[in-house]
């Protein structure tokens, strides 16, 4: 993308400005802080010039008094250009244009969920159009059912085409389109049904009107101005997309994208957007619980602290189990409390080893792991074994953008600016750049792949090693399965070498260290051939990387230690052992550990077995730092103070540490200080966000908007005297609406708003330039940078070819964006989209066993049995079966494994 560093001088209303060359006028005007109306232009999808709303008058030179009307979004901001935004003709044009767009607009604002954050409202006001003159009848449309996430109200459409451009062109959706013609155009699906694309939720933010609104929010609708919001980080996968989490009346109401120019940009996936409902679940643990008989009984906070101190901490040998979904601080506090030797990471050895390996490759190796946003800038991609659409959805969206880079060069060669989207697409004609997929079975990204090959995990690794060898001939040769694969390997090696910036993506999802090593080898080989190569590993959970950087031992070590006996008590922080390991293993472990204390947010099998349970906060009620797959440490903030005893795990643990060893961390920053002192690798975590003493002038940053309503009535049913608002000693944010009203530091943006810009389009005001970084730099700090001298070196442990076993299947995990995540599945909206459990195998294997799709089978493996129906998946290799990961009844299954499959 030719982003100009050269500056251009432009004149807006006769005042001179210096702007970066190569942008369009609309972008630069918005960055300069002008109020210029627009609809069809979107900072991520650029210009098509469809809505005619951004009209300005363009003058030839200073003597030209007439000028001509141009669309700012279609005009390059070239040196010396003169325009007027304030010219009365431009004003009249924009107001008239809105009036025309609104001819059929319904009188819906009061019942429209967009109201109060509606770009159309903002633009109407900005344009000056205020009185409806049209008295004809309004055109109406039927609406469609679009699934549990998105509500459709077609009457409100102003035909800006942003939705199709996002859904189809940007996110690669196939089940959405524009229908009919002239003033009847209709944006929707061919037939009613859930929108299939994993990024459909972004329509809520992309559509400038209330056609597409958040259906989950609708269940407990609250206006934007009434939400208490905090900057947060999505906890639903390892990418760590930035989100804004919002609360009202003690419940999380919605998640919006928090723009981060280095991570997720303007979008997030639907799992992140709609998968928060577990935080409001009635399964939440809200008070301390104590086991009495077979039930759990409520305890007050103080008596819980006292009893647990006496009961648990009177023991000598106490061990702690951390968690990849708990923050760095919570893991650290647990470690401090039980001691270095007694702290165990909360994942099995196999997974732990994979993550550690990925970390060491990114840290010791010589290839840089790009940020999520940077992924979009690579021009050739190879994905090794990972179904990223389902394990790291936003990575898939980034790859879809990367796939467009190579073909677009043709357009740039013709001097078409990158922002002229319609023209660029005209040249590209749907062509996609080199994207190669080497996976176990058909995945959704096959839609954009140049070529996909399917084989077993071991053979994926072998093919990977082979590709590396083809790039760097000094590596040992590896033979591949067949000619097709051979040809594939050659093609991949060629295209990666032809690219300027090749990218290799892999991950831990196949539980194969060979795949991870093979990916590293390819990236190293590319680097050695002088390429600006990148390497991305997807890891399982939000803080898998962070926890692994801290834990030297894992769950299996803990189990081994427990088997030796002598453990008095066990503390588990935000971890359901039954989700991690098989039931009988977990049962035995808990039995061997004496007393059990669990800090958890939702009731689960582990809490049912605990002697004491403490209510731990989810992302909504706690503050912490998490490290994503890129090694980026990011802070998430408590959204609201709950009225119950829920608080961050580290706060509970801090209390215990105080009563046991009399050391007490005053607040969150004190915990971070201790942590970075202990772990020099985490040094930079301190700078992930401003500390609690940060003030703008003397002011904190308010979590509530300036127009927050109902303060004197919200709690009046409980007591007519309003309580003192809670104080946040852990962050620079306040829980009230009082505080600094300008643009806060980039890591502490609780909501996007700017005068005149109530919708998310106000993000423009928070950026140094449109689509660029936030003022003061994008938030988050990278902890893993490659080493100069490549300490890691090439890997040479090439796995054997996969060999089938008669009568048994090599059962590998299949991932689902909705279903393969521990917590998001607990929310009702997301749960509607979870497919029912199944086992997949190819037609040949089915026939061999006299099975037909839908037949129920029993899978038996090391002492366990599962019943599921079979499904045909012809791309799966012979002798390999796919079982969904993390589904109800399938949690705790350790992949991959040999299993027998018999018909019920």
């Amino acid at each position: 993308m030719p982003l100009g560093l050269i500056m251009a001088k432009i004149f807006v209303d006769n005042i001179e400005y210096e702007v970066p060359d190569g942008k369009n006028l609309l972008e630069v005007c918005l960055s300069l802080g002008f109020n210029l109306t627009y609809f069809c232009w979107h900072p991520a999808m650029h210009s098509v010039g469809a809505c005619r709303q951004c009209g300005v008058v363009n003058f030839k030179d200073e003597n030209d008094k007439r000028g001509r009307l141009v669309m700012a979004c279609m005009q390059a901001a070239t040196n010396g250009i003169r325009i007027s935004i304030e010219d009365p003709r431009a004003h009249a044009f924009r107001a008239g244009n809105i009036e025309a767009l609104m001819l059929n607009h319904p009188h819906d604002c009061p019942v429209c969920d967009e109201g109060g954050e509606c770009h159309l409202q903002d633009m109407t006001l900005m344009s000056g159009h205020n009185y409806r003159r049209n008295t004809f009848k309004k055109r109406t449309h039927y609406n469609q059912y679009l699934g549990p996430f998105i509500n459709h109200e077609m009457n409100r459409c102003i035909q800006c085409y942003r939705c199709v451009r996002f859904y189809n062109d940007y996110a690669g959706g196939k089940d959405f389109a524009v229908f009919a013609a002239h003033d009847d155009v209709y944006f929707g699906r061919q037939e009613e049904g859930a929108l299939e694309n994993e990024f459909s939720g972004n329509l809520v933010e992309v559509c400038p009107t209330g056609v597409f609104t958040d259906k989950v929010l609708r269940k407990h609708y609250t206006r934007k101005w009434d939400l208490t919001s905090a900057p947060s980080v999505c906890h639903q996968c390892s990418l760590g997309c930035n989100i804004l989490a919002s609360e009202r009346y003690g419940g999380i109401r919605r998640i919006l994208t928090r723009y981060n120019g280095d991570v997720n940009g303007y979008f997030i996936c639907d799992r992140g957007r709609f998968g928060y409902e577990y935080a409001n679940s009635d399964k939440r643990i809200k008070q301390a619980l104590k086991k009495s008989g077979n039930t759990l009984q409520h305890l007050s906070k103080d008596s819980a602290l006292q009893e647990i101190k006496d009961f648990i901490f009177s023991g000598k040998n106490i061990i702690g189990i951390g968690s990849p979904r708990a923050s760095l601080e919570s893991n650290f506090m647990l470690k401090e409390l039980v001691g270095e030797n007694n702290f165990y990471g909360g994942i099995p050895k196999q997974e732990s080893a994979l993550i550690s390996q990925a970390i060491s490759i990114l840290h010791q190796g010589k290839v840089k792991t790009p940020s999520l946003k940077e992924v979009e800038s690579y021009d050739a991609v190879l994905i090794l074994g990972e179904d990223i659409t389902n394990t790291a959805p936003m990575l898939a969206l980034a790859v879809r953008q990367a796939a467009k880079n190579k073909p677009r060069e043709k357009a740039y060669a013709l001097k078409i600016p990158h922002w002229d989207d319609a023209a660029v697409r005209e040249i590209v004609q749907g062509e996609i750049g080199p994207v190669y997929l080497l996976t176990t079975h058909h995945t959704k990204l096959d839609e954009i792949s140049t070529k996909s090959q399917y084989t077993t995990p071991d053979d994926i690794a072998r093919a990977g090693f082979s590709i590396a060898q083809q790039i760097n001939h000094s590596l040992p040769t590896v033979d591949t399965a067949d000619d097709a694969m051979q040809a594939f390997v050659a093609a991949v090696a060629r295209d990666l070498l032809n690219a300027k910036r090749p990218l290799v993506i892999s991950g831990t999802s196949l539980f194969s260290s060979s795949v991870i090593q093979a990916a590293a080898n390819i990236a190293y080989a590319l680097k050695d051939s002088g390429k600006d190569a990148g390497l991305v590993y997807a890891v399982p959970e939000v803080n898998s990387t962070g926890m692994s950087m801290m834990a030297s031992k894992d769950l299996d070590d803990a189990i081994a230690r427990a088997n030796e006996g002598g453990i008095d008590a066990l503390i588990i922080t935000e971890n359901d052992l039954y989700y991690r390991i098989e039931k009988n293993k977990a049962d035995d472990f808990l039995k061997n550990c004496g007393h059990v204390l669990v800090l958890e947010n939702l009731q689960n099998e582990t809490t049912a077995k605990a002697d004491y349970v403490l209510p731990a906060g989810t992302f909504a009620e706690s503050t912490g730092t998490v490290v994503n797959n890129e090694g980026r440490a990011q802070r998430f903030y408590q959204v609201y103070k709950p009225s119950n005893d829920i608080c961050s795990s580290w706060e509970w643990l801090n209390e215990f540490r105080n009563s046991v060893s009399d050391t007490y961390a005053e607040n969150f920053d004190a915990v971070v200080d201790e942590m970075v002192k202990r772990y020099p690798d985490l040094q930079k975590v301190k700078f992930a966000a401003p500390d609690a003493n940060f003030r703008k002038g003397t002011q904190k940053i308010p979590r509530e908007t300036a127009r927050y309503s109902g303060r004197t009535a919200m709690l009046a049913n409980i007591n007519v005297s309003e309580p003192k608002p809670p104080v946040d000693k852990d962050s620079p944010l306040s829980f009230t609406m009082e505080g600094y009203q300008g643009i806060p530091p980039s890591a502490d943006i609780p909501f996007f708003w700017s005068p005149g810009w109530n919708s998310v389009q106000s993000i423009n005001r928070y950026q140094t330039e449109v689509g660029g970084s936030l003022h003061g730099g994008n938030p988050g700090v990278r902890l893993l940078e490659p080493s100069e001298e490549n300490k890691s070196g090439y890997f040479d442990k090439i796995p054997e070819r996969f060999t089938k076993k008669e009568g048994e299947w090599w059962i590998i995990p299949f991932y689902h964006i909705y279903g393969s995540d521990e917590l998001s599945v607990k929310g009702p909206a997301l749960a509607e989209r979870i497919p029912s459990a199944y086992i997949s195998m190819n037609e040949k294997d089915l026939n061999k066993n006299n099975l037909r799709e839908g037949d129920k089978v029993t899978i038996s493996f090391s002492g366990d049995k599962i019943n599921v129906p079979v499904k045909e998946e012809n791309t799966l290799p012979d002798g390999v079966a796919g079982l969904p990961k993390g589904f109800e009844g399938l949690t705790g299954v350790q992949f991959p494994f040999w299993g027998k499959i018999t018909k019920v």
């Binding site: 109406t140 009847d184 309503s709 009535a713």
Partner: protein, 171 residues
């Protein structure tokens, strides 16, 4: 000095003027219909709740004494799940009535709301909702809005055409 004495004299003369005090509660003053007193929630001509839970009154209220939560019936018609006004905070400015796009919230000529216990000044929806249409008769928001929500057929509003058949080919 003299002017002081003069004003004392003039004030002294007020003694023989008519009293302005009205002996409430024996005598009650006439209150015009647009008097800003107790707040009520009114109903549509079709007798369902007028309030569409748009939160505009709450946003307009300068003392933030209105709080409500929107919810929907099975047809998608929105109404407040709860609607609370803390009259111990209300300044009877009437901004909520101004803001209301549906004529749901209205201030009526009644001010006799005193309570011994301040808590009793917190009115919930059942205390606010009246049976009639209040000051503004005949207005039904859903007849002029675009959403159907069981009040009308889609496109059956006062100012609407029937929904477009998007499959027709006529240009």
């Amino acid at each position: 000095m003299l002017s002081n004495i003069r004003s004392m004299w003039l004030v002294f003369l007020r003694m023989f003027h008519k009293r302005v005090t009205v002996q409430y509660p024996e005598k009650k003053n006439y209150l015009p219909p647009r008097w800003r007193g107790r707040i009520v929630l009114t109903r549509d001509p079709d007798h369902s709740e007028r309030c569409v839970a748009c939160y505009l009154c709450a946003a307009a209220c300068p003392v933030d004494c209105i709080s409500l939560q929107a919810t929907e019936d099975e047809k998608g018609r929105r109404y407040p799940e709860f609607f609370r006004i803390n009259f111990s905070r209300c300044i009877f400015c009437g901004l909520c009535e101004d803001a209301c796009p549906t004529y749901a919230i209205q201030l009526v000529p009644d001010f006799e709301m005193a309570e011994y216990n301040r808590q009793n000044l917190v009115y919930e929806k059942q205390d606010l909702l009246i049976d009639g249409q209040g000051k503004y008769h005949g207005y039904n928001f859903y007849k002029v809005a675009g959403v159907a929500v069981g009040v009308k057929e889609k496109g059956g509003g006062d100012n609407e055409d029937k929904p477009v058949d998007i499959k027709k080919l006529i240009p």
